[in-house]
């Protein structure tokens, strides 16, 4: 049996259930990720508690199976623990990078299951680049950003939204989407491009 730092573990567990106030100092994500380089388990716990719902929600949306989604979430957070040096805070914020990593792992899992892995030439262990924040982007907090993105996507043409969702959540290519929706390839490309550009305009307006 392994001994451990009992009190902080249980305080954190109770805090996550809202039973006792969380007395840990609220540090920014970038600082916590930096601490992972020193094998700081407490920093890892805080990052997990802060972001596991969003990561799991995204992976579950892609895979539609709770058990498999949990395996992928485990894989994502262990990759973070073991490769914290891959995140460069100078380039951009942590959450989009983490969610991109989660999406990539979930789609890898989906492709393996659907035997479409021949299409994935990249290394499955490759970590995504950190997305830089555009100049026009305002720092919306997580809840307001979620509401804004959902509202803007709801304002797209249904076919644009559908095509983007098929590409994002199911990892389909333009030609696979065209086949699924029984539409010309050029039409699908336009839907996706124009839909994303409208999303960009909406976020610029919000800024």
């Amino acid at each position: 049996m392994i001994g451990d730092e009992e009190a902080p573990v249980f305080l954190a567990l109770l805090a996550s259930l809202g039973i006792v106030p969380d007395s840990r100092e609220v540090l920014p994500d970038a600082t916590l990720v930096q601490s992972l380089l020193r094998q700081d388990v407490s920093a890892f716990e805080q990052l997990y508690d802060r972001h596991s719902r969003q990561v799991y929600g995204l992976v579950l949306r892609i895979l539609q199976q709770a058990a498999t989604a949990e395996e992928v979430v485990q894989d994502v957070f262990l990759q973070l623990w073991r490769n914290a040096a891959a995140y460069d805070a100078e380039r951009g914020p942590f959450v989009p990078w983490l969610l991109t990593l989660a999406r990539n792992r979930a789609l890898d899992n989906l492709r393996l299951k659907s035997e479409r892995q021949r299409r994935r030439e990249d290394q499955t262990d490759e970590l995504p680049p950190v997305a830089t924040v555009p100049e026009y982007e305002k720092q919306l907090d997580g809840r307001r950003r979620m509401e804004r993105v959902r509202s803007l996507m709801g304002g797209l043409l249904p076919q644009q939204k559908r095509a983007i969702e098929l590409a994002y959540f199911e990892g389909l290519s333009h030609s696979e989407i065209a086949e699924k929706l029984k539409q010309p390839l050029g039409t699908v490309k336009s839907w996706i491009r124009n839909g994303l550009l409208r999303l960009k305009e909406g976020l610029q307006t919000a800024s």
């Binding site: 049996m1 249980f10 094998q39 388990v41 991109t100 969702e165 994303l196």
Partner: protein, 263 residues
């Protein structure tokens, strides 16, 4: 439309991962050529695609996942610290021998004193070697547990209980490395009793095969590593845990508290 325009129109699809292989290869080649406009457009498109993640509703994963992850992470952190500590030992030993050598050259100590010093250093060296071996063993255990918990080939065996007041347990069986059984908030057995793991064979009249025993710690944490299970997974029907006297029993003396069927 220029060639650059054609690539520019593919940037959003590229950042989404939606291009077919040939188009993806041509865009990558174009980006590698150093097109500034497309490079800037790609940075913006990457950011845009990250925002699509907010379309998915949040969901809470199980507490067992959190427990499993933290267990692995703590095991790896300990293993790293042990490796650092054990690598420091030779420097101390060399320092001790160097000090002894200088002392014998520059002082007038007699042979008896010198022999006593050598004996003391040897004894300390033995203790350090024993400590190092102990650390290496702990490191090996931590490594084994981490691999069992995270190897996708490991089989997860949920262990339920009829007693609603007891937490569930989970066993993870790796065909080559063994079994890890874990649970949180597990109440301690009464008195000096212990919890014992059993392998229930598939054979029709097969008796439960005894395995290791363990008591949860003071905080109810239960983590049992069985590095060499007494039987193989493919001949085992289920795992069970009973409460037994200290030291365990050759056969169960009480009804199973937790049972997990192997599918």
């Amino acid at each position: 439309m220029t060639n650059g325009d054609q690539f520019r129109e593919l940037i959003e699809g590229y950042s989404l991962g939606a291009l077919d292989p040939e188009e993806r290869a041509s865009v990558e080649a174009h980006l590698a050529s150093g097109c500034v406009d497309c490079g800037k457009a790609l940075e913006e498109a990457r950011w845009l695609v990250t925002q699509l993640a907010y379309l998915a509703p949040e969901a809470k994963p199980s507490d067992l996942l959190r427990g499993r992850l933290l267990q692995t992470v703590r095991a790896e952190a300990r293993a790293m610290k042990s490796a650092k500590v054990s690598s420091a030992i030779p420097l101390w030993m060399w320092g001790a021998f160097a000090a002894l050598l200088l002392f014998t050259i520059y002082t007038a100590w007699d042979t008896t004193q010198l022999n006593k010093q050598i004996a003391a250093i040897n004894e300390q060296a033995k203790q350090e070697i024993a400590k190092r071996q102990e650390l290496e063993e702990k490191f090996a255990i931590a490594q084994r547990e981490a691999i069992i918990l995270t190897d996708p080939r490991s089989v997860k065996i949920p262990m339920g209980t009829e007693n609603k007041e007891l937490p569930k347990m989970e066993a993870i069986w790796h065909a080559k490395l063994g079994i890890v059984v874990s649970g949180l908030n597990v109440p301690a057995p009464s008195g000096t009793h212990t919890l014992q793991l059993w392998l229930i064979p598939k054979a029709k009249d097969g008796k439960p095969i005894p395995s290791l025993t363990l008591r949860p710690d003071a905080d109810g944490k239960f983590v049992l590593l069985v590095a060499n299970p007494p039987d193989a997974m493919d001949t085992t029907k289920a795992l069970a845990i009973t409460e037994e006297p200290a030291g365990g029993s050759p056969q169960p003396t009480t009804k199973p508290i937790w049972v997990g069927a192997i599918s």
